[in-house]
Symmetry: C2
Subunit: 455 residues, 2 copies
């Protein structure tokens, strides 16, 4: 399988990984450090995630030769507690000192209380205050996502004043793309891109060269909504304000990109009936915990289907071939339902399915269901007649296929719309509901028609 699966991460070749592991196993911290020095922290984090637990422990025993702030920030939530527990306090403290407040919050917020306390204790006082203030905002809010390091200027400043200020500033954020203009009450009133600051003459007023795209988000806004705004309006950074309109932080596009990525992942996993936070790094127990609930729900809905089939035991006893044919009708409905469901869940997530077009989309799905239903009804009808030699069985197959594909198309759009209306995540349970509908309707219609028309 060696070449099959993509080669680990870009910056990690198999030779380097082996050499680093050998050095770590031999306890040669200097060599490990030399080997990993040119590797990007994101790739070091991937390395730690992908090796076995024993090898991970050997690497972590190398302390700061392997772990710095960036690596700690990049590492998957699934193994972060394990990594932190394996590291001595001074290595953790050194690593934390390198990070901006938004990265610190990201590391601390998902930890258990005990680990949180340990990390807060290891931080500088200023960082600790910043993190504690951020944690006061709700989970998954803009307040948790933002960085507090800001570059602001009074709204009356000129380009020259801004440049002089920046040259004199002692500590600037690692990343900033705008100078935010604030009024005397610290409310943001506009921003100027650094490109504009650089290309304008020194005497130009900042206010004269602000960007049209300027908008702010509230610290209590959901991070998913913030990600949507970045994607929709192509923002690079966005100031965050508190309840009284004061500037409290800024969110940059790389954080928004991470949120967008996580939201997608959650939708995809939820649709498949796996916990939205599941990951390839989870252990066996966590994996089972994430999967058992939906298997259990499916067991119940599958038993409903079995009950429906049981009602027609007499019919099946007389015409056994029905038992072989009925899963075809159910499974075609399942596929058609999943198809229309997926389009709907995705369109709800990207806000392309709205009040203005919901009815048109429902009508389109109905039309698609009817036409696909007719096509496959024709195929199955002919097959039933010609292959099985019973014309009436062909008619039953065709009618059941037609009805189930129409029901599937409509359930695929109406169930997620209804979930969304009721305030649930349409990705969460729509799949199970839609499959239950197509199974139950499929079995009932097919066996029911067979009972009426063939007996």
């Amino acid at each position: 399988m060696a070449e099959a699966v993509r080669n680990t991460a870009e910056g990690l070749d198999a030779g380097l990984v082996e050499a680093a592991l050998d050095a770590a196993r031999a306890g040669d911290a200097a060599r490990v450090e030399a080997l990993l020095e040119p590797v990007h922290p994101a790739d070091v984090a991937d390395l730690l995630e992908q090796v076995s637990e024993t090898d991970r422990d050997a690497l972590l025993a190398m302390g700061s030769a392997v772990i710095d702030g960036e690596v700690l920030s990049e590492i998957s939530d699934a193994i972060r507690e394990e990594v932190l527990d394996a590291l001595p306090d001074d290595v953790v403290a050194d690593a934390l000192r390198e990070l901006d407040s938004d990265d610190l919050v990201d590391i601390v917020e998902d930890l258990e209380a005990e680990d949180q306390g340990r990390l807060l204790g290891a931080m500088d006082a200023a960082d600790r205050v910043a993190v504690e203030q951020a944690l006061a905002w709700p989970e998954h809010s803009a307040g948790r996502l933002m960085q507090r390091e800001l570059v602001v200027a009074p709204e009356h400043w000129t380009v020259g004043e801004a440049i002089d200020f920046l040259r004199k500033a002692e500590h600037l954020p690692d990343q900033f793309y705008h100078v935010i203009l604030v009024d005397p009450r610290m409310s943001p009133v506009g921003y100027v891109t650094l490109g504009r600051v650089l290309s304008a003459a020194r005497g130009v007023k900042l206010k004269a060269i602000t960007e049209d795209s300027f908008r702010t988000v509230a610290a209590t806004d959901e991070e998913a909504d913030v990600a949507y705004i970045f994607n929709q309006y192509h923002l690079i950074s966005c100031p965050v304000v508190d309840g009284s309109g004061r500037l409290v932080g800024v969110i940059t596009i790389d954080d928004a990109m991470t949120v967008l990525d996580e939201e997608h992942e959650e939708d995809m996993l939820r649709m498949a009936g796996v916990g939205g936070e599941s990951s390839i790094q989870d252990g066996v127990i966590e994996t089972i915990k994430g999967r058992i609930p939906w298997l259990f729900i499916n067991l119940i809905t599958a038993n409903v289907s079995a009950l429906v089939i049981g009602q027609f035991a007499g019919t099946i006893g007389q015409i056994v071939v029905l038992a072989a044919l009925m899963p075809i009708i159910a499974s075609m409905g399942g596929i058609a339902g999943t198809q229309s469901l997926t389009i709907a869940v995705r369109a709800l997530a990207t806000r392309d399915l709205t009040v203005s077009n919901a009815m048109r989309v429902v009508r389109r799905e109905a039309a698609v269901g009817a036409i696909n239903g007719l096509s496959f009804a024709a195929i199955m009808g002919l097959a039933g007649w010609l292959v099985l030699g019973v014309p009436m069985l062909g008619v039953v197959l065709a009618m059941a296929m037609m009805i189930n594909l129409c029901v599937a198309a409509l359930a695929g759009i109406l169930v997620p719309l209804a979930m969304d209306r009721l305030g649930f995540d349409p990705a969460l349970a729509s799949g199970t509901f839609v499959m239950t509908v197509t199974d139950v309707v499929g079995f009932f219609v097919f066996l029911g028609l067979a009972t009426v028309m063939l007996l």
Copy 2:
């Protein structure tokens, strides 16, 4: 349904939409323009996508009151040809003039040859050349994605020289975040963030303040790989080089974010058996075209299951309750297989499933399958015994459940790994293969065991 579905886009309230549509229907272009002027182009594009075809035509008849370059660039591929066909040449030409080369390429590349010719004809000569050069790169490559507007400086320049150059420059790109340093052969050798340029003293050499994160991509690289690099290494912009290492363009993070978004969508849609480019705006015919292939493949695989069941007609004829119970075993396998498949497809897409951990993940899936199998085997075994009153039926149910859940967990990981190894997109067909395996195995094991143990 009015409040259920999320309110169109942020910038569009229902009142504004109605007012704009009324004005458009009345042919009042001035009023439409006044109403839409404060609306973000991305929201105007959403409006055009979400209204009915008749309303869209009324809006498009307003010409430049509705359409500018940004709107044209934001509009969904699904309706772009229709929009372009409805617009007079001068409106299109004015709109195109506002856009950077990467946006022009994005608009032109998916059009049919005739429309492409019309748009290229409407462009300024310089834009046309830029677009034609971009189209010479392969589809979905970095060369298609990049913008050609660049901010470069010789590697020996100082901060002051760079600032003076930028102040004098006549035309700067709409977005730029770095000054790219090039050697005399135009090979990029590093870049400096604008924040650093602004905060450093005029005499500082640019070479002394370049970023560690610097890396380049080749114009022929896949855009999906470029998006991965941006996400993995938190890049903001990335220079693009041709085969001889010369700088030919730059990709910015907003374009990478769009690609990431599209890749996710493709994976999600492909897993559901819908064409990867399907959209909520597609017409009935396109929708059917996207869905028929997988329905057809499913029809074939469902018939394989039916053949398997058919082999046991004799058994079912004697014990009809088996027909009601067999879909439970198959459907539980389907869910378990989809769960493990989704985690695997996602991990392959994010490159978290690699050579280093593939065997460990396979072992974990086997363990999860065995434990879930045992749990649900116990439940079904007891149910078979207590509810149905036939102890041996309980044993058959339990054994079939156990085997099918193990097979499901393994198929869910091994099928996508194999697809990836063979160079296919694991999202594409894995679902169908895994479901076929769990259906066939489920029916075969359950009915086979029943034949051996109950007859």
